[in-house]
């Protein structure tokens, strides 16, 4: 296990500045800032419709922000270094191989087996050696506890198993950063734990992660930092101890009250 680095000294993996986004007349994000250092687990919290998922999707340009910049290890995402030209599909694809993503509804490829889902991008996008990728993919499935399902199609798996395949698939790219978009929101309550356990292990092993979640216990126990959003703005940001025990704003207090009442 890698000992946790001092967060303040670790190199910056991802920096987002002044991200704004509207859908028509509806402003979803206003001037969002986020810096993620190596080994950090940043949890984005906030009520439904606060813009958490949209912000996460702006980080790898699945959603094109109207303003602002995203830098992955200093390299601009979405806009070419030479001037203000939006990247082509191929250029964006190349940079996205360095950012893994786990989806709320898994978004596995149903025509491929579990093992093929995990091997697909390393072989066909990163063009790595097939035998090596296969060994790694099998090891990853072992790690998320579904090695016995390798030859099955996703349709045969439970939600929790699908999401663990989703995580293995993202890890197979050896990304600099992992994005989680509400990874447990579509799961039956009794399946949430198995997915969170895998994510907890990843955090402990020093994976750099940005997690949009409604799992307050996970954020409190695992996050190195929480960012609280409301109506497309960052309302509060800080250590989980601080946020969960001494929230500074009324909005955060209200939000936490609703969750502790459950």
């Amino acid at each position: 296990m890698i000992p946790p680095m001092d967060a303040a000294e670790a190199p910056v993996v991802l920096a987002a500045h002044g991200i704004s986004k509207s859908f028509g007349a509806n402003t979803v994000l206003t001037d969002m800032e986020l810096t993620v250092r190596k080994g950090e687990t940043v949890c984005l919290l906030g009520p439904s419709g606060s813009g958490k998922s949209t912000f996460l999707r702006c980080l790898n340009w699945l959603e094109e922000p109207d303003a602002g910049s995203v830098l992955l290890k200093g390299q601009r995402i979405g806009v070419r270094a030479s001037g203000n030209i939006v990247m082509s599909d191929g250029e964006l694809a190349a940079i996205r191989t360095r950012i893994g993503m786990v989806f709320q509804h898994f978004a596995l490829w149903p025509h491929l087996t579990v093992l093929q889902n995990v091997m697909e991008a390393p072989i066909h996008v990163q063009r790595r050696d097939k035998a090596e990728v296969r060994r790694e993919a099998e090891a990853l499935l072992e790690r998320v506890g579904i090695a016995d399902k390798a030859g099955q199609y996703p349709a045969r798996l439970s939600g929790g198993q699908k999401q663990r395949v989703g995580i293995a698939r993202a890890l197979a790219m050896k990304p600099d950063l992992l994005l989680f978009d509400e990874p447990t929101s579509a799961l039956d309550p009794e399946l949430v734990g198995e997915v969170l356990a895998v994510m907890k292990d990843l955090a402990r092993e020093g994976m750099t992660m940005v997690v949009v979640t409604h799992e307050m216990a996970f954020a409190r126990d695992v996050a190195s930092r929480v960012v609280f959003l409301d109506r497309g703005r960052i309302v509060e940001s800080g250590s989980p101890e601080e946020f969960f025990t001494r929230p500074k704003t009324d909005r955060a207090k209200q939000f936490l009250l609703r969750y502790s009442a459950q």
């Binding site: 790898n60 699945l62 599909d89 950012i99 149903p110 087996t113 991008a121 996008v125 099955q152």
Partner: protein, 216 residues
């Protein structure tokens, strides 16, 4: 009706199968190409495909064959009867295939495309690895159905003086003054051709089901 007459109708069947297959083999990828143009909303080309599909789809095969054979030489494009027949059937089947492929593309789950994008797949790779293998299966029944319709609309090319099953049968009937036997033979031949298409579809579907079953 003699055995020679049966042989003549059989020769017509060979011709029917040949031009049908030629138009299917060209028309399938052509239709897919048109569908992709519409799906990706490529400016200008998109509008051209819309006009093409609505014009050709509205035109009966006989009319289209005559138009291509007699009208195109006026603008300097002339071709032999067989080529004109294949062009007619290809253009016609391609329009229907366009709509079938487009339907399959439009109902393709967007979350799968999104994960493919997030995993760094460029457009062509997304299509080749994720979309195509799946729409091929979802579009297959409709495509095979269109193939059988295609075989059945092929007699239209007889207006170009070509001898297919129906034309061969009616010639035999006209000569022997007994049209029933040759048309029974024609019907049997059409049934056999269509059966081959349907059987190959069943075979592909069964193989797919067996694959899925084996993975359980």
């Amino acid at each position: 009706m003699t055995w020679y007459d049966v042989y003549a109708i059989f020769q017509g069947a060979v011709f029917t199968v040949a031009i049908s297959l030629a138009s299917i083999v060209i028309g399938l990828p052509l239709g897919l190409g048109f569908a992709l143009i519409r799906w990706s909303r490529i400016p200008v080309l998109d509008r051209i495909v819309v006009v093409y599909v609505s014009v050709i789809r509205a035109s009966p095969a006989v009319t289209l064959a005559l138009l291509i054979f007699f009208a195109l030489p006026v603008v300097g494009i002339s071709m032999g009867a067989v080529t004109a027949a294949i062009v007619t059937l290809t253009l016609s089947t391609a329009t229907f295939n366009t709509e079938i492929w487009r339907g399959a593309l439009m109902s393709f789950p967007s979350d799968q495309l999104e994960s493919a994008r997030a995993f760094g797949m460029p457009r062509a790779l997304r299509f080749r690895r994720i979309v195509f293998p799946q729409i091929l299966h979802s579009a297959l029944p409709a495509l095979v159905n269109e193939m059988t319709l295609q075989v059945k609309s092929s007699p239209a090319i007889a207006v170009l003086g070509l001898v297919d099953i129906t034309r061969a049968a009616s010639r035999v009937g006209a000569r022997t003054y007994d049209p029933l036997p040759p048309f029974v033979v024609a019907l049997v031949l059409y049934s056999l051709i269509v059966a081959v298409f349907v059987m190959s579809q069943r075979f592909i579907e069964r193989r797919r089901a067996a694959e899925l079953e084996a993975a359980r």
